[in-house]
């Protein structure tokens, strides 16, 4: 159970950023759907910058009067002939009313509370400032973002989305504006106009306007999505970097572990080779023992049978060694053995093998050596031993027996032959070299 919890915790820890971001995304979307509203209400009953205006300023004859109630403004008008398109309405100034208006572009919907007391449509102009077209002190140069509608009781208040607005085509034509530059723009609205529409009948009429309401979100949907996408991207980038460093760290740890294992393996191999070596070595003298001798003998036998390369076997025995042991003790006996080994090792070739055959007997196996050369070597060794004080207590000498290997011969016979030669050397008075030579029957 605890292991399961540990795994869950590890998974959670690894993905904590993703979990966190997921939670943040859900919260943000929920908040966007159910809150973060940005609402601006323009109550014309107490909004001071409202004026009534008719076509009389364009040379028309229409009359107009503006009155305020507690909750709305009442515009009474009489449309008369005299102007090509008779109209009457109100102007609502925002900001400075000229070039610095209000940004309405981030609102999603526009509510208009308007009740006509007459027939016909109503125009709503969102007049936008655009430095490209603006002419100083010329209100007509403010862009006409317009919508014309029938204000009905069923649809009270009337609701519009910014996409429903169009730039008045007559204004585009009048100002010779490239159609590509004549797009709806609500980012800077210094003036809103509500007027009678195109087909408003001549005569008396009234517009009761309560106000306008702009409704949107404190943050645009596109901005929210962009922020979330950016956050996810950055998060994944961070995770990628973390994973990369984790991977590098793990790789370094694995490499370190591998190096340690390799070192251990190397140590084990050294240990193994030392064990193998020690199993083939005589612990006292350090020269080969009989186990070590076997592999070398096999190699030399192969050399002899394949290449005809002669092999000689020299066996030597320390003369009166038992007396040395009995008289001076085993430590002195061991000293003789060690010093004798050193002496012989210094006189033979690297290719020759010195073997402690047992007790005070040693063997020198000489590859690529005929018996006469082995005899010569043995004589050299004998003279050297005779002339060296291996121990201070007494002079030590050795007797030698030599035999040459015959192809396909049982090695035992070789040993026996060399043994016989050694025996002859002992019988002959010791401290001498005897070779086992051929004898005709």
């Amino acid at each position: 159970m605890s292991r399961l919890m540990e795994k869950i915790y590890a998974l959670f820890r690894m993905n904590i950023l993703i979990f966190g971001l997921l939670a943040a995304t859900v919260i943000a979307l929920f908040a966007y759907q159910n809150g973060l509203d940005d609402i601006e209400f323009l109550n014309l009953a107490d909004y001071p910058y409202v004026i009534a205006q008719s076509d009389s300023i364009d040379g028309g004859e229409s009359a107009i009067a503006l009155a305020r109630t507690d909750s709305s403004i009442i515009v009474d008008y009489e449309l008369r002939e005299g102007y090509a398109y008779p109209y009457a309405g109100v102007k609502i100034f925002l900001g400075d009313g000229k070039i610095r208006g209000k940004d309405l572009s981030h609102y999603d919907s526009i509510f208009v509370w308007i009740k006509p007391r007459g027939e016909g449509t109503v125009r709503l102009y969102m007049r936008a400032y655009d430095s490209t077209f603006y002419r100083e002190n010329d209100e007509t140069s403010l862009k006409f973002n317009e919508i014309e509608f029938f204000p009905l009781e069923e649809t009270y208040p009337a609701v519009f989305v910014p996409q429903e607005f169009r730039v008045a085509s007559w204004w585009v034509a009048q100002n010779e504006i490239n159609v590509h530059n004549a797009r709806v723009d609500l980012s800077n609205i210094p003036l809103i106009e509500i007027q009678t529409g195109t087909n408003a009948p001549l005569g008396y009429g009234t517009l009761e306007i309560k106000g306008l309401c702009f409704k949107g979100k404190k943050i645009a949907k596109v901005d929210l999505v962009t922020i979330l996408v950016a956050l996810w991207f950055v998060t994944f980038l961070i995770i990628l970097v973390i994973r990369f460093f984790d991977y590098s760290r793990e790789r370094a740890a694995a490499r370190k572990k591998q190096e340690e294992l390799e070192k251990n393996l190397e140590a084990l191999q050294i240990e193994k080779s030392e064990y193998e070596k020690s199993s083939k070595e005589d612990p006292l003298t350090g020269c080969l023992n009989r186990a070590g001798f076997s592999s070398i003998l096999l190699r030399e036998q192969e050399n002899l049978s394949k290449n005809g390369s002669p092999v000689s076997f020299v066996i030597l025995d320390i003369d009166h060694f038992k007396e040395v042991n009995d008289t001076y003790g085993h430590n002195v006996g061991d000293e003789v053995l060690v010093n004798l080994t050193k002496l012989i090792q210094g006189k033979i070739r690297n290719t020759d093998a010195l073997v402690r055959w047992g007790g005070e007997e040693f063997v020198v196996l000489c590859g690529d050596t005929p018996i006469q050369n082995a005899q010569f070597l043995a004589e050299k060794l004998r003279v050297a031993i005779e002339g060296t004080a291996l121990i201070k207590q007494q002079q030590v000498t050795c007797s030698f027996g030599i035999a040459e290997m015959i192809p396909n011969e049982d090695p035992k016979k070789l040993f026996e032959r060399a043994d016989k030669a050694l025996y002859a050397a002992k019988q002959g008075g010791r401290n001498r070299v005897v070779s086992a030579t051929f004898k005709h029957r």
């Binding site: 006469q372 004589e379 001498r432 086992a436 030579t437 051929f438």
Partner: protein, 110 residues
């Protein structure tokens, strides 16, 4: 039959112990540059000599002395066992130099 084909029989050869004790008659003889090679050559030659191979004596123990003779070394070998004084293998001489082929001459004990 299969067994006999599978393993080769060991060669039936007989051997005798041959002992050579070398003694220099002078320090110059011991220090002669060809001495070691001569000793080896003579040993090899002796081991091949028919009189040595056919000797009835089981152990042959030669006392070999050598000295300077001109630029060469002269070796003289005599069996330690005087009871074989009349035997052909009793004594021999050999002259050995740097380039010469070694010849061992047996003197029939005379």
């Amino acid at each position: 039959m299969l067994c006999s084909c599978a393993s080769k029989p060991d060669p039936e050869v007989e051997f005798r112990p041959l002992q050579l004790s070398w003694n220099a008659l002078s320090p110059e003889a011991e220090a002669h540059p060809s001495k070691d090679a001569c000793v080896i050559k003579i040993t090899a030659q002796l081991m091949r000599e028919s009189v040595v191979l056919q000797s009835k004596k089981e152990n042959l123990d030669y006392r070999v002395s050598y000295g300077i003779s001109g630029e060469n070394l002269e070796f003289k070998g005599v069996l330690a066992d005087d009871s074989l004084a009349g035997a052909p293998e009793y004594g021999w001489t050999s002259t050995c130099g740097s380039d010469e082929k070694v010849v061992v001459k047996f003197h029939n004990g005379l």
